[in-house]
């Protein structure tokens, strides 16, 4: 058999693959699903892209808090002064105490600065408004400079600062109807974009860079494509596995609704609901385009089973649904296209965000399985001997477990331990799927490597005296990839299904993060029929696209099959 030259053969396979029926369609479906997961924060979020508004609530709070904060300083100041007076270089405890009180004082300074900057941000730009703020800030700077230098004796009492803060409270109180007061100015901010993590930015950008690769012919760009995909995968995972946000401390929509934020203009995402945004009054609402979802102004259902009045002494309670700014009206068909869950969260938003978890686990564990399987299998086949025997024994053992059973067991018992080690349960599930799943690929690759190492060209390069490492990486490894590539898509499918099954059994994501399997678990636990369809369909469609691509890849890699 002739040498299989990756550089020549892969583009051939690539074009054969792309030429097959339905591959383009499957690719675009997959691209769509991945895009929706990657761009979920841009598609479904409670926060606007841009906001031009006066945050009156923040301004008023800052104004009110400034004075008490400054009054607090006196005590801290005395502490710090006392600690620095008691400071002796030979006593580590006194050094520590001085350092602590100093740090505490500086934290208070920071708190004041924060509030001052909020005031400056929204206070009118007229001189009369800004000059007192400037003056206060200047005195603050001088003051903190002395604190930094440890010159506690020269400081005037902090109560002077507090007195000027009290004066500000009068002079800078925001205009309130006829009572007069200061006119505040509108400022622009980007709440949604500011909230994105580095991983999310990277994922979005890498994906934008990767998309053309799907669309246009890529010949020599194979390696670039691989690189971009690797970055994409890594950042997608970083985005999906990021530490929980602890949710938002201040929601824009809520602020606008309560009048704390005076809005000039805002541009919201197409689905103005966040995945974690609860709306208790709208809990467990069917998709709003169905007739049974109609709600009257008291929050009662108009028809359907939810409108039912018990014939006995009880009727289900209801409270009016708060429709916040930027949201579709109460009974608009597009308000909740897929309904809401038991906490009134929008299922569509959760399904979009849930794709991040499911796809990240599926794709990452598939890459892990392929990487580990190919590496171990090829090494075992190439090296033979003890290593090969060990690998074969390990494969035999691992393959004698029913795979899904092992994954569930390992995921269930490991998730809590992982959580206590601040590892995302999903990352643990990924590890488990890789640890259980690599054996199949390894077996295939090992057999291939056993064959390849006996081929003439390998003997030839060996005779040339190349090092074993070079032979392995340059000549053996590229030529044993065929079975792994043919199986790649199916590995991804089983990883995706494994993740969703584990989540369905309740051992997957951490609350309140969504994933497709977890959504289905909620559907079952809460008896919410409309919650069943969407996540299952998303899993199905994603797997179908992958399977189609996998079939095509198999045919492309094995020309006999495509005859």
């Amino acid at each position: 058999m002739e040498r299989f030259d990756a550089a020549v053969a892969i583009p051939g396979v690539w074009s054969r693959w792309r030429a097959q029926r339905g591959v383009r369609f499957a690719l675009s479906v997959l691209a769509l699903v991945i895009s929706s997961a990657i761009f979920a924060p841009f598609l479904a979020s409670a926060r606007p892209y841009t906001l031009l508004a006066v945050d009156r609530g923040a301004y008023e709070t800052s104004l009110a808090e400034l004075e008490p904060l400054l009054r607090n300083w006196n005590a801290r100041l005395l502490d710090a002064a006392a600690a620095s007076a008691a400071l002796r270089d030979d006593d580590p405890r006194s050094v520590h105490a001085a350092w602590e009180t100093h740090a505490a004082l500086l934290r208070e300074v920071r708190a004041v600065e924060l509030r001052l900057s909020t005031l400056r941000r929204y206070a009118s730009s007229e001189r009369a408004a800004q000059v007192p703020l400037d003056a206060l800030e200047l005195r603050l700077r001088g003051w903190t400079g002395k604190v930094h230098a440890g010159e506690f004796d020269d400081l005037g009492p902090a109560s002077e600062l507090a007195a000027s803060a009290a004066a500000l409270r009068q002079s800078h109180r925001p205009r309130d109807g006829s009572l007069g007061g200061m006119r505040l100015r509108e400022r622009r901010s980007f709440p949604l974009l500011a909230d994105l993590s580095f991983g999310e930015w990277l994922a979005a950008l890498a994906w934008l860079a990767a998309l053309p690769l799907f669309v246009r012919r890529a010949r020599a760009r194979g390696w670039i494509a691989l690189g971009v995909l690797a970055v994409l995968l890594a950042s997608l995972c970083a985005a999906a596995f990021r530490a929980p946000s602890g949710l938002s401390t201040r929601e824009v929509k809520l602020g606008v609704a309560t009048g704390a934020i005076e809005l000039a203009s805002a541009w919201y995402p197409p689905i103005p609901f966040g995945p974690d945004e609860t709306r208790m009054s709208e809990a467990a609402r069917p998709p709003t385009w169905t007739s049974v979802a109609e709600i009257d102004e008291h929050g009662r259902y108009v028809r359907g089973p939810r409108a039912a009045q018990s014939t006995l002494e009880l009727v289900p309670s209801a409270r009016p649904v708060a429709v916040l700014p930027a949201e579709p009206s109460l009974n608009s068909p597009v308000r909740h296209l897929l309904g809401t869950d038991a906490l009134g969260r929008d299922v569509l938003a959760r399904a979009l965000w849930g794709g991040r978890a499911s796809l990240a686990v599926g794709l990452l564990s598939a890459s892990g399985v392929l990487f580990l399987g190919v590496l171990v299998g090829a090494l075992a086949g190439y090296l033979r001997g003890v290593f090969d025997a060990l690998v074969r024994a390990l494969i035999a053992i691992l393959q004698s477990f029913p795979p899904f059973f092992l994954v569930v067991t390992a995921a269930a018992i490991g998730a809590e331990r992982a959580a206590s080690a601040s590892l995302q349960p999903l990352a643990w599930v990924t590890l488990v799927i890789v640890a259980v799943g690599w054996t199949g690929i390894a077996r295939l690759v090992r057999a291939e490597a056993l064959r390849v190492r006996e081929l003439d060209y390998v003997s030839a390069v060996r005779a040339l005296g190349y090092s074993r490492g070079r032979i392995f990486f340059r000549h053996v490894l590229p030529n044993v990839l065929t079975p792994a590539l043919a199986a790649a898509a199916f590995v991804a499918i089983s990883a995706l299904l494994a993740e969703s099954s584990v989540s369905f059994l309740g051992f997957g994501v951490r609350l309140p993060d969504p994933s497709w399997g977890a959504l289905l678990q909620e559907a079952r636990a809460g008896s919410l029929a409309w919650l069943i369809a969407a996540p299952g369909l998303l899993i199905l469609v994603t797997c179908l696209a992958l399977a189609w691509l996998g079939d095509a890849a198999r045919d492309a890699l094995d020309p006999r099959e495509s005859r």
């Binding site: 004698s400 029913p402 018992i413 289905l520 899993i539 797997c543």
Partner: protein, 347 residues
């Protein structure tokens, strides 16, 4: 004789590895069964409970190093304080552990021995799994052969798409959909709960069959997809191979070509699946039995997992592992019967 010996040696080594992995995995889990044993929402305790906890730990060797626990688990010597005199026990319970056929008792229900319990659960799961496997093969083999023989036809395309769909549909989703569709909330054709209705006498097979329909469908559809795809590929490969062409050229009748040359040879790879289908089904039974509330081994395993019954989970893992090994062995045997090359030791 030598290969037989070697084979059984290899199998027992694999078994040992399997047991070791299952054991270590479960003992490393957080949540001590001793704690669980003394947990209850209205438990009120003081020094007495703490004492009991310590006693429970020492009785079950939970306070000993992992390797001691493993040896105790493996048997045949009981290493606990009441165990064999050789290991410092009192001698009242000298033998125990896996090698003595003892999987231990549940922690929470100390009167329940795990081995008979697992067997009893298996007697529910295995018939379901075997029926599903039978159904899967009965449908998938002819389907695959037909697809393979009539490649690129409309039938091939559509049935392939359909099997692809089945391959990709998550089983818990399908189970939920079927429950909605055929259960009392939908068409009300089939029962969706358990294996027996309340009024049915124990010998009512019709009732049992009605209850088993949906679980069997859920268990088998994915295997149908896998097997038929494999069968199709094998049939297609053989149908276009040289010896089939040669046979046709020799003027062998088409029917004979199909049956004697193609199907027979295509069956070889399909038999390798026999070993894998059973473990798939047992794995799938975790979900199917949970959704349909069937008291089989899958449900038992999941409940034990939730209750932290380490030994029961380990028993389920080991039993399924043994079944898998047996399945793999079976497929080896089948393959050697069907494949002349394997039979004659050429491969």
């Amino acid at each position: 004789m030598r290969t037989l010996l070697l084979g059984s040696l290899r199998a027992s080594a694999t078994l040992l590895g399997l047991v070791a992995i299952a054991f270590v995995l479960l003992r490393l889990a957080p949540g001590d069964p001793a704690q669980l044993r003394f947990a209850s929402d209205d438990a009120v305790d003081s020094g007495a409970a703490a004492e009991a906890l310590v006693r429970f730990r020492s009785e079950h060797l939970l306070d000993r190093p992992l390797h001691v626990q493993f040896l105790h688990y493996l048997g045949p010597f009981d290493l606990s304080p009441a165990g064999h005199k050789l290991f410092g026990g009192s001698g009242s319970q000298p033998w125990g552990g896996l090698l003595a056929g003892d999987f231990g008792r549940e922690y929470l229900r100390p009167d329940v021995e795990i081995a008979p319990e697992v067997l009893r659960r298996l007697s529910v799961t295995l018939p379901l799994a075997l029926l599903s496997a039978l159904l899967a093969y009965a449908l998938a083999l002819p389907l695959g052969v037909w697809q393979g023989l009539r490649r690129a036809s409309a039938f091939d395309r559509w049935s392939r798409a359909l099997t692809l769909l089945a391959y990709c549909a998550p089983v818990f989703w399908v189970a939920l959909l079927l429950q909605e569709l055929f259960g009392p909330a939908g068409l009300d054709w089939l029962p969706i709960l358990g294996l027996r209705s309340r009024a049915a006498p124990s010998g009512d097979w019709g009732d049992l069959a009605a209850h088993a329909v949906l679980p069997i469908v859920c268990l088998s559809y994915a295997s149908i997809a896998t097997i038929s795809r494999q069968m199709r590929a094998a049939t297609a490969e053989i149908a276009s191979s040289d010896f089939v062409l040669a046979a046709r050229a020799r003027g062998v009748r088409e029917r004979a070509v199909i049956w004697r040359h193609i199907v027979r040879n295509a069956l070889v790879p399909a038999t390798t699946m026999v070993g894998q289908v059973l473990p798939w089904l047992v794995g799938g039974s975790v979900i199917v039995e949970t959704v349909f509330e069937i008291p089989g081994m899958g449900k038992y395993a999941l409940e034990s997992l939730q209750r932290r019954e380490y030994d029961a989970v380990a028993a389920c893992v080991i039993v399924t592992g043994v079944m898998t090994l047996a399945g793999l062995r079976l497929s080896d045997v089948l393959q050697s019967r069907l494949d002349p090359r394997v039979r004659d030791g050429a491969v």
